[in-house]
Symmetry: C2
Subunit: 561 residues, 2 copies
């Protein structure tokens, strides 16, 4: 029996596989740094004190922290599959992630969730899942699935599942939407993540009272402290696009706020950024640079998240805890020397390979035939144009006269944009005009298109746009760049049309290359060619968007006909 | 639907039953004191901020803390039944208790646990139960029940049950006792309380690694800090007999130790002491007097315990939390002005009455007939004598010669003591000699006798001792004082022979009275007549004890024959 082995090892019968000798241990329980040996048996920390073991590593002078916890992440945003993503997190000291497979669930519904839970078994990190609460994200588009409370309930007892993922529909909660309340009730005994940007006052109170436990959308200290005071655990986010840590932590430090109900998260962070800086490691380092006590920073990145999510035996260097440990040089630079997952040095963990996914997730591009007139759109006296804003995710609602539009289309300042339903070949597609993407000749297209992940395609001619859609079908989803009927560049993302099957060292340069080719085609250098494109289809961010049902005015919550 | 009502109330539709206006709120999340209105609907805090309600109470200048949590208590030690006990805790600001019905389970086994879980439904506090792990406590006596892992497992899904109660058999854990490991495995996904006095070093590590989460036995700062560092939550105990708070908290404060993994508890506290000082209230006050930040003290007494035991929506003034609140005057004196349980002022909570318990728990005295020679014991050349020590729970192992013993018996410095199995009429009884109890003429007897709660009786003559046992049967258990065949005093404790059915205002004076009568009979004033007696039967505390199988040498772990 495993427990008997652990007890014997703890009693120092010499059976420990690994002993880290003379460690400076960051004790997240007492807030101290203590010295001692850390003894590991069967992947579990069985003792701290004086120990001998089969393998002893003297780390005198070095520090040991518990493995970090990324409290909220959408793995799909890395474009790498869970097994690959987990390895990159591990290398940066993260040994536990709490994920919401919201994107792939919009593509593949229950099958996608089941596949992710299988992947969680294979992942090298502790891979926990919050079940996507908002599939589809809106009713203004056609996603690949609709998940109701009943469907979600079937996953409740999976050991990876901690509760319900971010409830993005705060308006629906306050409006007592029946389906939403049913989901909240279904998960009332588990953790329910929130998503309430700029939530405040009595509406925030009502949202929390409905049963929400966490929020990761605060962008300022004032927003964060109000949410903390009202009872939400605040997940401080530092991703690739949303960087909220400095604003929040400066206020926390200045006002000497209790940090117990804070955790760190990335939400969405690109793989290249993760490989360069890490995720929670970066949050800890940055907080310390801002003046936070290093032990407190480590607590936020470890035990706090474990407590908030009710994770047992994770997040501390303590007896009976998973031997998830980060060895590093000092409390300023936090340079990682070694990472251990369940007592195994991650250098000894094999790279994931030959990973099989259910075939239904690997045939992700299924749209109805597009004839040559599919993207025809009549020019009117007043024409709505989606105005891209440099370096922003919001767009402007523009109206061009017939003359302005024709001039824009001919000088290349205006392009066509279309969204094509690609999950169930329903034939839905919407077409509109867009400015600010750049003077391109050809088409750029993607199967990553928040949150329904239909095909979004932009171009200066219908023929290349249609060819781009067909090319996406041929490669099983991803990014493509087409010009005059030629494939200029492409990045296959066959797992749901969202994720690559390649290792990070191949994926990152391929992604760089396709982005470079898009700029060469003429895409505006003040935007990301594909990420900007992917957000044009999200009909919840002002002002204009496009879905497979047409151009949508977010400010009025209606389509422009 | 309740949730819809709560959301509407939080949105300030005016439906809140209660609003505490202008409160100084102790915010246990942020460690701040904030000002605002606290709005309550359906027993839940739905908002903090600006609110109107059907009933508004202006508490400007006063403070509001979350209701306190007593993290570990044996209700039986108060000699009042759960419903009565709960009311007294409530009056002192405690709205949640975590109990271990170890004593009554030793009497009534599964039936007793089921009855306590029913009582938990009726109790005015949030009444959580840790299932007794050590019934019987030892194999050197006969208790009323034996609870194995299988029996305990049937209670796992009761909503009051949080896990396994204090694992007192640390030796058994380290010796890999099969039955104990099975219990630990059965509850490995829940909370397991520890009990490891003076545990240290690798043996402590092994004990924790076996799956233990908490410990309430620390009597010094050094003991507490070692346990905290190793990963145990430390429940700082301040009861009637064991007063550990000052020693531990002084060190915590001096060394600026993180208090997150500390909670407060009483373990065993007498009802009169509770009515006078409170339980957790007393711990908070005393910690503040020792120099602890008052907000930290309140956190230890509220949210910390909730986090340690995984209690959701309890332990804070936050949206969606139970409206369990304590209103008090200032951060020095903590004089309680009002207590609210689920939004109801406890003055409006009716006193418990007409409470019915299963009849099997109310016929608790069932011993085999005792003939007049039952307590005969041969005088030998060397006679073991249990030596009571003033004001201590330990005893001395004494050996008297034939002459010394006869002299002692005649001058009253030595008495006879007997333990009579009283659960299943097995006929087991053990008799021995004891010194230090006082020069009494008659007998004192009790059905409270740790941990098997057989009858323990002491006296200067067999006839009164036998009469005392019979009188206990007649009154259904409790305390009796007999002299020359007359009942001098008695306190019925018919619920399992451990608890009274009377309210505190009657029970406390009756208890005072019977104690006074015992002293009048000649009991040594440096001991408690009944509590001292009750511990003479506990064969785990050095040096000599008596059980229903004879005099037991705890230092050698064997009976004296």
């Amino acid at each position: 029996m495993k427990k008997e082995k652990l007890i014997r090892a703890a009693l120092s019968d010499g059976s420990c596989e690994l002993v880290l000798k003379n460690a400076n241990i960051i004790n997240v329980f007492t807030g101290e740094i203590t010295q001692g040996d850390i003894a590991v048996s069967n992947g579990i920390i069985v003792g701290i004190g004086k120990y001998r073991g089969k393998k002893e590593i003297d780390i005198k002078g070095k520090y040991v922290a518990p493995g970090f916890i990324n409290a909220h992440v959408h793995v799909e945003s890395s474009m790498s599959m869970p097994e690959i993503y987990s390895m990159e997190e591990l290398r940066q000291g993260t040994t536990t992630i709490i994920t919401d497979p919201h994107e792939i669930a919009n593509v593949g519904g229950m099958t996608a969730i089941a596949e992710i839970l299988k992947a969680a078994d294979r992942a090298a990190v502790n891979y926990f899942v919050m079940l996507p609460s908002c599939v589809p994200a809106t009713s203004f588009e056609h996603s690949g699935a609709e998940l109701d409370a009943r469907q979600l309930s079937y996953f409740k007892n999976d050991p990876h599942v901690l509760g319900l993922g971010e409830m993005m529909n705060a308006v629906g909660v306050l409006a007592l939407d029946k389906d939403i309340l049913e989901k909240l009730d279904t998960f009332s005994e588990m953790i329910i993540d929130g998503h309430n940007p700029l939530g405040t006052g009595n509406e925030l109170n009502a949202y929390i009272t409905a049963g929400i436990h966490t929020d990761h959308e605060s962008i300022s200290y004032n927003e964060a402290i109000e949410k903390l005071r009202a009872g939400l655990a605040v997940l401080v986010r530092e991703g690739s696009a949303s960087k909220n840590l400095e604003a929040i932590m400066k206020g926390i430090i200045k006002n000497n706020i209790d940090t117990t109900n804070l955790a760190f998260c990335t939400d969405d962070k690109h793989l290249a950024d993760i490989c360069k800086d890490g995720t929670i490691l970066y949050c800890i380092k940055k907080s310390v640079q801002l003046g936070l006590d290093p032990i407190k920073a480590v607590q936020i990145g470890t035990i706090n998240a474990a407590r908030i999510y009710g994770l047992k035996r994770i997040g501390a260097i303590g007896c009976g805890y998973h031997a998830d440990m980060v060895v590093f040089d000092d409390l300023e630079n936090f340079n990682i020397i070694d990472v251990y997952k369940d007592g195994v040095n991650i250098r000894d963990i094999p790279e994931p390979k030959n990973i099989r996914y259910n075939s239904s997730l690997l045939c992700p591009v299924n749209f109805a035939p597009l004839d040559e007139k599919a993207f025809d759109i009549p020019v009117k006296d007043q024409n709505a144009v989606i105005g891209i804003v440099d370096r922003q995710i919001i767009t402007q609602k523009l109206f061009y006269t017939r003359e302005q539009l024709e001039k824009g289309l001919s000088d290349g300042s205006v392009n066509k944009i279309a969204v094509v339903e690609r999950h169930n070949a329903t034939g839905f597609h919407g077409t509109g005009y867009i400015s600010g993407y750049g003077n391109i000749h050809g088409a750029v297209a993607s199967t990553v298109a928040h949150d329904s992940h239909n095909i979004v395609v932009i171009g200066d001619n219908d023929s290349d746009m249609i060819f781009a859609c067909e090319q996406l079908r041929r490669i099983g989803g991803g990014y493509v760049i087409i010009s005059d009927g030629n494939v200029i560049g492409e990045l296959p993302l066959p797992l749901g049309g969202l994720m690559s099957l390649k290792p990070a060292r191949e994926l990152i340069p391929e992604l760089d290359s396709v982005i470079r080719k898009a700029y060469n085609l003429g895409v505006n250098k003040n935007i990301d060619p594909f990420i900007t494109l992917s957000f044009m289809a999200l009909p919840v961010i002002p002002e204009l968007r496009i879905t497979d049902s047409g151009v949508f005015d977010v400010t009025k919550f209606e389509f422009i006909r």
